[in-house]
């Protein structure tokens, strides 16, 4: 168990170091390839997948 915990701990710390180096994050983003260059001239021609988000309009 001691060896397992040491090995597991080293793996966690190594992943942390590598993840930090590579800029890992828990945030979710949607990757889209080959967005046309025309978007710069006509931003409305591109629609984000998040545009259908249902907004919270609450408050207490």
């Amino acid at each position: 168990m001691k060896k397992f915990y040491l090995a597991y701990g080293l793996l966690v710390v190594s992943m942390l170091a590598f993840g930090e180096y590579r800029g890992w994050s828990f945030e979710r983003v949607n990757e889209v390839k080959n967005v046309p260059k025309s978007v710069r001239d006509n931003p409305g021609s591109y629609r984000s997948v998040y545009a259908v988000y249902h907004h919270y309009t609450g408050g207490k």
């Binding site: 993840g19 979710r28 983003v29």
Partner: protein
């Protein structure tokens, strides 16, 4: 030395040429049948041993009677050793080679400290075979056990002498294999005094390892804080009002993300008051068209009710995009809100290569959880172990 007749169970003096009878056995019983038949031979710890004697001993602790079995093993060169068995738990015992030093809460033997577990008066209830001492049924000794799992140091005291033996917890299946015994050894029940913890690690060792890893994590954080770029690559202020029939989206000027593949932080501040603003962001590589889409809502509500003033939400939002390669980028922004809110001012700040503290918290959590689990298992096991002792915890 004494010998017990296997048929009539009379105990004889082996040193007497006429085999004088010490004691006639009062009542032969089948209840104390040795699990390892006398005469069994096996290789144990590098030497061939014969099983030559068996005795059952009975003690009484807290008004409860209990018994265990002892087997005498003999090798002409190595001498005697003993197997003890209680409820399927086995120990391999040999005479101590040095005199243990008794201390306040235990004893010290060959540099190792053993904690006192139990002291009890025991009596020999049944004997069979040969013994290296003059054994008698009904003979009483005071037995004190000191433990340092998987070891147990036992002292047996009678009116004339004190005998010390060192036992080590062994598995029945290893004995069965070594002595080529048929069937299976009895399954252990309960927790024995010197049974090793299933966690196979002490709480001290686990938390020492945790502290070591925690220091490593702090070192990584320090290095990353020192060397991360944390470079602001874009900042601008905007004003938005939802208007029907008007295209709200726009793009920012192109900016450059330099260095290795790393994180990009989007920080947004919006002057919302009992309002919401939703921003569809797309970070787009100007050269290869690779886009990273995400949406963020900023909302802030405040008021007062019977419980007093309250607030909900925040004017700020921050998000860390993972692993963005270097290159020339721009952002497409598509704000949404409600027309009745009127104009909402907001600011966008983009920073390259920002440390992600969530990763550190996740790493600490990932190390903490098994440490807690191991400690909990060890703690429970030790509680059950010591519940049977003279010092229940």
């Amino acid at each position: 030395m004494s010998v017990v007749c296997g048929n009539c169970h009379a105990i004889l003096d082996a040193s007497n040429e006429n085999l004088a009878i010490f004691q006639r056995f009062k009542g032969k019983t089948d209840k104390a049948k040795p699990l390892i038949p006398l005469g069994s031979r096996g290789k144990w710890r590098g030497a061939v041993y014969d099983v030559i004697g068996f005795q059952r001993r009975t003690g009484n602790a807290d008004g409860e009677s209990f018994s265990w079995n002892e087997y005498v093993l003999f090798n002409a060169a190595k001498g005697f050793r003993y197997f003890t068995e209680y409820n399927g738990h086995w120990n391999d015992a040999t005479p101590a080679t040095a005199l243990p030093e008794e201390q306040a809460f235990g004893t010290k033997y060959l540099g190792k400290t053993y904690k006192h577990f139990q002291t009890v008066t025991v009596a020999t209830a049944f004997v069979l075979g040969e013994f290296p001492w003059q054994v008698r049924v009904g003979e009483q000794v005071r037995v004190a056990d000191y433990i340092a799992p998987p070891y147990v140091l036992s002292s047996e005291k009678n009116a004339n002498e004190v005998t010390w033996t060192l036992g080590e917890y062994v598995h029945g299946k290893d004995i069965w294999k070594a002595f080529s015994l048929s069937g299976e050894p009895p399954k252990p029940t309960g927790i024995f005094e010197n049974q090793p913890s299933p966690a196979r690690v002490s709480m001290g060792e686990v938390w020492t390892a945790f502290a070591l890893f925690f220091c490593l994590i702090l070192a990584i954080l320090t290095v990353n804080e020192s060397f991360a770029q944390k470079l602001q690559v874009f900042f601008d202020s905007y004003r938005f009002q939802q208007t029907a029939g008007t295209e709200a989206s726009f793009v920012t000027p192109i900016f450059e993300l330099k260095g290795r593949t790393s994180s990009v932080e989007f920080k947004t501040y919006a002057s919302v008051e009992n309002q919401w603003l939703y921003l569809n962001y797309a970070l787009i590589n100007a050269d290869n068209g690779q886009a990273y889409d995400f949406g963020r809502e900023i909302s802030y509500y405040s008021g007062s009710d019977s419980d007093g003033p309250w607030t909900e939400g925040s004017h700020f939002d921050s998000v860390l995009l993972p692993s963005i390669p270097s290159g020339r980028y721009y952002v497409r922004v598509e704000p949404e809100s409600e027309a009745r809110f009127g104009p909402i001012a907001y600011q966008l700040t983009i920073t390259r290569d920002v440390p992600n503290y969530d990763l550190y918290m996740a790493a600490i959590g990932a190390l903490f959880a098994p440490a807690i689990l191991i400690s909990w298992r060890t703690f429970n096991f030790e509680q059950l172990r010591w519940a049977e002792s003279d010092h229940p915890r």
